[in-house]
């Protein structure tokens, strides 16, 4: 079920209230049952995929811990293959088949599979892989309680779109009997309210302009596409960070602490800083489980740069089985390698550039990559970029919004940036400001929210 739905609000209310009426033994059962229901609302049959990966990884964790020598590695490999196997089959088979059919037409023709991608597959797969790898590295004890391990994979707030948690953070919390605390509830509700505001007021409103321009890019001019791309930069941030905030807030109400996934990414003064602030759970996952095993910064300069580019290319592919996502990830890889080369050959150059110019440049570079992320295909993306780069002052702004609504969108972006800059945490200590801000946010969500059943963008990954 979508977070921005009445069904979820009732579900959340029932589950959270019931959680505190139960002892520890009842709590994990409740959360697991609730998480199963939450997932099955999308497509009931796909729970079987989760069940298989949970069973495989549960036993893999225990056997890895008990085994020694090459057998440990073999079990880990089997576990990783099963996880990556599901991902490869459901998410990437059609992509590779289409490309093989296109580029090797004289060889065997591959029939494409016809099914809906299991929701959250990329997220819970990575979270499960993190567990077996950490057990293998000896940094995490294997979880013996099958129900708790299942809950680790399926915990409903972060099941379908993260944050991608680490077992060291989450598993101990499932063994803890959290007492009800008013402070946690306030913190959680405020976080959820801000998340809803970002999603239904900002992201879904900006998406109207973005969709109008991108879905009719042939008839849109450079200015309209530039504005749409600028809006998409904030749409995707609000959509994804809004989801993360709702997930983190829902968990916090029950006492759980999930990791932060975003930290004001558009205040970054460099691309490497951007990736320390954007989708933090994914970027750290790739750092710890791909970049470092490839050698990290310990290998030679050129090898490290190649590894960095490779990791970001794979990160692009993780987002979706399309060349546009691969290009998007690769562009970030190129930016990062470019920055390293700049610092290597001209070490003092960056220090001479004022901070605001650095922030502005980073923003523009990131914004241009979002064209590939949003476009339907490479051809469309290139056409859009050509139009954006060639726009002239005589272009009229073609938008479905009237000037008041356009100004309102700019105001919303301003509120978002101001909040990121000056109020990273909304106040919850004192009751009066808490209730006042919560009421304002909820009223804004009601009166200015758009409820067109817009799915969260990252659900498709």
């Amino acid at each position: 079920m979508l977070f921005n739905s009445l069904q979820f609000l009732l579900f959340f209310g029932v589950v959270t209230l019931a959680y505190f009426q139960l002892s520890w033994r009842g709590r994990w059962v409740l959360l697991l049952a609730a998480s199963c229901y939450f997932y099955m609302v999308f497509k009931p049959e796909y729970i079987l995929i989760l069940a298989v990966t949970i069973i495989v990884d549960y036993f893999a964790g225990i056997w890895i811990e008990q085994a020694s020598g090459p057998r440990r590695k073999a079990i880990l490999v089997v576990s990783l293959i099963s996880n990556v196997g599901f991902l490869a089959y459901f998410k990437y088979f059609n992509f590779f088949a289409q490309n093989l059919n296109k580029f090797l037409p004289h060889t065997q023709h591959f029939e494409l599979l016809d099914y809906i991608l299991p929701i959250g597959l990329s997220f819970h797969t990575f979270q499960a892989m993190s567990y077996t790898i950490e057990v293998y590295r000896g940094k995490q004890a294997a979880e013996r309680h099958f129900g708790i391990y299942s809950l680790y994979v399926m915990f409903y707030p972060q099941l379908v779109a993260g944050p991608i948690e680490r077992p060291q953070n989450l598993l101990p919390q499932f063994h803890t009997q959290f007492e009800y605390r008013w402070e946690n509830l306030k913190e959680g509700l405020m976080r959820m309210a801000w998340g809803f505001f970002k999603k239904v007021v900002i992201a879904d409103r900006l998406s109207v302009v973005v969709d109008a321009a991108y879905n009719h890019h042939d008839s849109s001019n450079g200015l309209s596409l530039l504005i749409a791309t600028f809006f998409f930069t904030f749409q995707i941030y609000c959509d994804f960070s809004g989801y993360s905030d709702i997930a983190i807030g829902a968990a916090r109400c029950m006492g759980f602490k999930l990791m932060d996934n975003f930290e004001a990414p558009y205040q970054s003064s460099s691309i490497s800083e951007f990736w320390r602030r954007w989708h933090i759970s994914l970027s750290t996952w790739f750092r710890d489980y791909l970049y470092i095993p490839l050698g990290g910064n310990r290998v030679g300069f050129w090898r490290a740069n190649f590894n960095l580019f490779l990791v970001f290319m794979v990160s692009g592919l993780w987002h979706g089985a399309k060349w546009t996502f691969v290009i998007w990830g690769s562009l970030h890889g190129i930016y990062l390698v470019g920055a390293r080369l700049r610092d290597y050959f001209f070490p003092k150059l960056n220090q001479r550039i004022p901070l605001m110019i650095q922030v502005g440049t980073t923003f523009v570079l990131v914004m241009l990559t979002w064209v590939f992320f949003r476009a339907d295909g490479t051809t469309q993306a290139l056409q859009i970029l050509r139009k954006i780069l060639a726009f002239s002052a005589s272009d009229a702004l073609l938008t479905p919004f009237n000037p008041t609504e356009m100004a309102f969108c700019v105001l919303l972006i301003g509120i978002l940036l101001a909040k990121d800059c000056w109020f990273p945490q909304l106040p919850t200590q004192r009751n009066a400001p808490f209730w006042a801000i919560l009421a304002v946010l909820l009223a804004a969500c009601y009166f200015f929210g758009l409820y067109n059943s817009n799915q969260f963008i990252y659900f498709q990954f």
Binding site: A18, Q21, E405, F447
Partner: protein, 342 residues
């Protein structure tokens, strides 16, 4: 105390959730008067929530038509002729069967009766409905067994349209409507934004379904209608008429109800005159109200609904019964024995 409050909330939220999942519970709450009819102020008001177009739906009172013994009327129609609006007594027929366009069923015609078929469509769906052969009624020699649709246990645990049902349950009362109107007014005044399923006429006086005005589809009153397509629609309609006459019907009549926008705002766009053009090709087999409606356009449609009001309904019924009488008298002239022997 806190625990009692928690349990009360759990039970309340769970009951609300259950009611949101179950159409049966909602129907029961409706019959008990707990859940108001969310169409009570009109289908267009329900979508737009604009208070300037809020009006109660009228209940139409009229006398039953004189009885027409041994006349069986079968209808294929839409919401204009739904069972809450038009009834058997309005035609005075011995047997009356209504079938919605989305359904189909097998029927057995009584050879001792005069069987008439009425095919009705609103203008915006006419091009879709009449473009292909009409076969909603399957005329057979025996009545098929009706099997109740089997429900999968998954449908019970994971029902569909939960969000819509919850919205109806929680936000269709008059207090919630006040806030919905406020929201709709804010969006319209500040952003010129409406629910995308409705449209307002250029003079701001009338509310339509956006299907009437959206020229990107062929449902709109203003979308282009070529002569070739018009010809094809007429041929298809005549073919369906011939099919049902051969199947045993004694008469087949058509009715195309004009779009609200065609009558109230024909000059807001380039009106394609589908109704007039198609009616002229269907000649004496069609119930026509277009000419009557255009004489006093503002008299025949509800302010807050896409359908006609009582005057519109009664006007159509009068024309329908006149045409039925004409069809029956033609039948008696051709087969005088019908009047006495049948």
């Amino acid at each position: 105390m806190r625990q009692a409050l928690a349990y009360t909330l759990i039970v309340t939220l769970s009951l609300l959730w259950l009611a949101g999942c179950s159409s049966n519970v909602q129907r029961w709450l409706g019959t008990q008067g707990v859940l108001p009819d969310d169409y009570r102020y009109g289908d267009l008001y329900r979508l737009s929530n604009l208070s300037r177009f809020k009006a109660g739906r009228s209940t139409c009172f009229r006398q039953a038509h004189t009885l027409r013994p041994r006349v069986h009327l079968y209808v294929i129609g839409d919401s204009f002729l739904e069972e809450t609006r038009i009834k058997k007594e309005d035609f005075g027929v011995e047997k009356y069967t209504y079938l919605h366009w989305k359904d189909s069923t097998q029927i057995v015609l009584d050879s001792n009766a005069v069987n008439l078929l009425l095919i009705e469509t609103v203008e915006r769906h006419a091009r879709e409905h009449l473009a292909k052969a009409i076969r909603n009624y399957r005329v057979g020699n025996s009545q098929p067994e009706t099997k109740a649709a089997k429900k999968d246990w998954l449908d019970f645990v994971f029902p569909t349209n939960v969000e819509e049902k919850l919205e109806r349950l929680l936000f269709s009362n008059d207090i919630a409507l006040y806030f919905r109107e406020l929201k709709a007014e804010l969006a319209y005044r500040w952003f010129g934004r409406l629910n995308d399923q409705v449209a307002i006429s250029k003079d701001g006086l009338h509310l339509f379904t956006s299907m009437d005005t959206d020229t990107t589809t062929n449902r709109s009153s203003y979308s282009h209608l070529s002569d070739a397509e018009l010809r094809q629609l007429a041929i298809s309609a005549q073919e369906s008429k011939l099919f049902y006459q051969n199947a045993g019907f004694d008469g087949v009549i058509f009715s195309i109800i004009p779009n609200k926008a065609s009558i109230l705002a024909p000059f807001d766009g380039n009106y394609n005159h589908l109704v007039e053009k198609l009616e002229s090709r269907l000649s004496d087999s069609v119930i026509s109200v277009y000419g009557i409606f255009t004489q006093n356009p503002s008299d025949f449609y509800e302010k807050s609904d896409s359908h006609w009001n009582c005057l519109g309904e009664n006007t159509w019924l009068k024309q329908a019964n006149l045409l039925i009488d004409k069809q029956l008298s033609q039948k008696i002239q051709t087969y005088p024995s019908i009047q006495t022997a049948k």
